[in-house]
């Protein structure tokens, strides 16, 4: 369209600005890659330089010895995030449906209450949360990371999914009612199948939340190495005199690669979902 057309000079300007913006965003990754490809001796002794002749993948081999549980950490991260996502969705789907479709006493009040949960992070409630998890026998288990994770993602999940469900035409449900279907049957067989694109978007958003924020609960409620998620597992290696940064960076990059690849495939859904869902109001 003509209105959007940029002159050559403007185009160059936009490219330069975009480059700077993306450089800021991607710099840590570029730097982590650069570090992971250099021998430790070179990193520590030489003057800073962008390029060196001795690039090698040695760190990617050695990291398995330095961080022996790396495979476990990667698995734990994905496992915890997946479990959080599944449980959150199971809890959120019916609740979002109730808020989208049904009338009941205290509807606005309880919805407001859910949203107010966003004001707390686990960090504020750690002390009693520790006791709750201890009395439930969940300390030092996967549950210690999963259960709080679910609780703090429920409000966002309800909020996002509700706006999707509101867009599904009521007529389809009413037709099912007229045919004598029960409410539960309608929810299961009419609403959920229609909402699948929305469910994928909300599920992805919940997964990102669960995957990105595993650190606090893990370092506070769990001290079993074998079930530590990636960020908490790698944090153990940070900050010592003898930290082998090249191997640490290699491990970090390796650790985030599987999920990153999945998101590359899902990103279309995600951006489309944001446009359709979150921005509606």
């Amino acid at each position: 369209m003509q209105i959007d057309r940029l002159s050559l000079l403007q185009k160059i300007g936009v490219y330069i600005a975009t480059f700077c913006f993306l450089l800021f965003i991607l710099m840590p990754f570029i730097e982590m890659l650069r570090v992971s490809l250099r021998p430790m001796s070179h990193l520590m002794t030489a003057e800073f330089s962008w390029w060196s002749e001795d690039f090698s993948f040695q760190a990617y081999r050695d990291m398995w010895k330095t961080v022996p549980l790396l495979g476990r950490y990667i698995f734990n991260s994905i496992f915890v995030a997946s479990a959080v996502t599944v449980i959150t969705m199971i809890v959120v789907i019916p609740a979002a449906y109730a808020y989208a479709r049904l009338d009941f006493p205290f509807k606005a009040l309880t919805l407001g209450g859910f949203l107010a949960v966003n004001m707390f992070t686990g960090a504020v409630l750690l002390i009693p949360l520790y006791r709750v998890l201890r009395s439930l026998g969940m300390l030092n288990t996967y549950w210690a990371m999963i259960i709080p994770g679910v609780a703090f993602l429920i409000p966002t999940g309800i909020w996002l999914l509700r706006s999707y469900l509101e867009k599904i035409p009521r007529e389809l449900e009413e037709a099912a009612f007229v045919d004598g279907a029960s409410r539960l049957y309608t929810l299961r067989r009419v609403v959920i199948p229609l909402a699948i694109p929305g469910l994928i978007v909300v599920g992805t958003a919940v997964y990102i939340g669960a995957y990105a924020q595993q650190f606090l609960f893990a370092i506070t409620f769990n001290n079993v190495r074998e079930i530590q998620p990636l960020p908490a597992g790698l944090f153990e290696f940070v900050g010592y005199q003898d930290t082998t940064w090249n191997e640490l960076m290699a491990a970090a990059l390796t650790g985030i690669t599987p999920v990153m690849i999945v998101f590359l495939f899902l990103q279309k859904f995600l951006v489309a979902g944001l446009t359709a869902g979150a921005v509606k109001e």
Binding site: R5, K11, V14, Y15, A17, T18, F21, F24, I25, L26, M27, P28, E31, M32, V35, L43, M44, F48, S49, S77, I90, V91, P94, A95, Y97, A98, L102, D103, F104, T110, A116, V117, N118, M119, F120, A123, V124, L125, I127, P128, I147, V150, A151, F152, I208, Y211, A212, Q214, F215, V238, G239, M249, A252, V259, M260, F263, V271, L274, V279, E281
Partner: protein, 308 residues
């Protein structure tokens, strides 16, 4: 006949409505249960603990002593001030950088689809991993930033950015902005794409410049999203824990200690549960007041300008 039908109908209606209520409550029950056990009960318990001197050893009721000690401590007010400064600065930067980023990604240039993907990584990885990368970049001996500053002759010697008070604080801000920007950018971008093309065309026909269209169409149209992102982002930034904890643990000499870091240190590291709980309650009260004030202020602005 008619009489029977008339009495039967409302009864059936009522039963149906009752069952709708019951059904609705059954649907939200699991979510409510989760929140009750993991958020509400711990919150009540935190308030109770804040009036005790609880440690690992045991607890005694001490009344408002924790609060009195807290409010009498000038260091605490420093922490409060620093937390708000941290929040306002970081959120403003996130919104500005996010707005610039979204505008760039919204421009009609070849490659924009790729650029939109490239903005996502900091958002979709564990926050702590990205922060570990920043921690490396800030180090003085072989970090990238120190190296670049020397390369360009801006500093003579190596600079350990996390070692001095001012530079540590602003380094943490930069990292926080880095963590928060992609999400803000993508939400703004989504909002921009939702703005009706007709508005732009009408303005364009009238000869409005690109800058004018941005100021008078784009910004007002996406204002609801800017406003809600600002509030969400403010709450998250206020409560931001991992970034500061990994970079500096609140140091050097308290320069990056925000309320949440202070609370964690007292409650978890030092295990002085009572004093920690008092700090947690202060956080909740401050955030709740801030949110209410923000919403009230917004309401007033909206009414004043006659917005929807």
């Amino acid at each position: 006949m008619t009489l029977v039908a008339e009495t039967a109908a409302p009864e059936r209606m009522q039963r149906r409505e009752l069952s709708e209520r019951a059904f609705a409550w059954a649907l939200i029950a699991p979510a409510l249960l989760f929140i009750a056990v993991i958020v509400v009960w711990p919150l009540v318990e935190t308030i109770r603990l804040s009036f005790t001197d609880a440690t690992l050893g045991g607890e005694n009721w001490v009344g408002t002593q924790n609060y009195a000690a807290l409010f009498a401590d000038p260091k605490f007010w420093q922490v409060v001030g620093r937390t708000f400064y941290w929040m306002v600065l970081a959120v403003s930067l996130k919104l500005i950088v996010g707005l610039i980023g979204a505008t760039l990604l919204n421009a009609a240039i070849p490659g924009k689809a790729l650029f939109r993907v490239l903005v996502m990584p900091p958002w979709v990885i564990p926050i702590a991993i990205g922060v570990i990368g920043w921690k490396w970049m800030y180090n003085g001996y072989f970090g990238l930033i120190s190296g670049l500053l020397q390369e360009f002759g801006l500093v003579q010697d190596r600079v350990a950015l996390l070692a001095t008070k001012t530079s540590a604080f602003y380094s943490a801000i930069v990292t926080d902005v880095w963590v928060g920007t992609p999400m803000v950018t993508l939400f703004f971008l989504a909002a921009m794409q939702g703005v009706s093309k007709d508005l732009y065309e009408a303005a364009w026909v009238d000869g409005a410049s690109r800058w004018y269209r941005f100021r008078r169409i784009t910004i007002p149209q996406i204002m609801p999203v800017i406003v809600s992102m600002a509030l969400l982002s403010a709450i998250w930034t206020f409560n931001s824990f991992e970034i500061i904890w990994i970079l500096t643990e609140g140091g050097p000499r308290g320069a990056t200690t925000t309320l949440i870091i202070d609370t964690y240190k007292v409650a978890i590291s030092a295990q002085r549960f009572g004093e920690g709980a008092a700090r947690a309650v202060v956080i909740v009260v401050l955030l709740a007041s801030f949110s209410l004030f923000y919403l009230w202020f917004l309401n007033r602005v909206n009414r004043h300008y006659g917005a929807k």
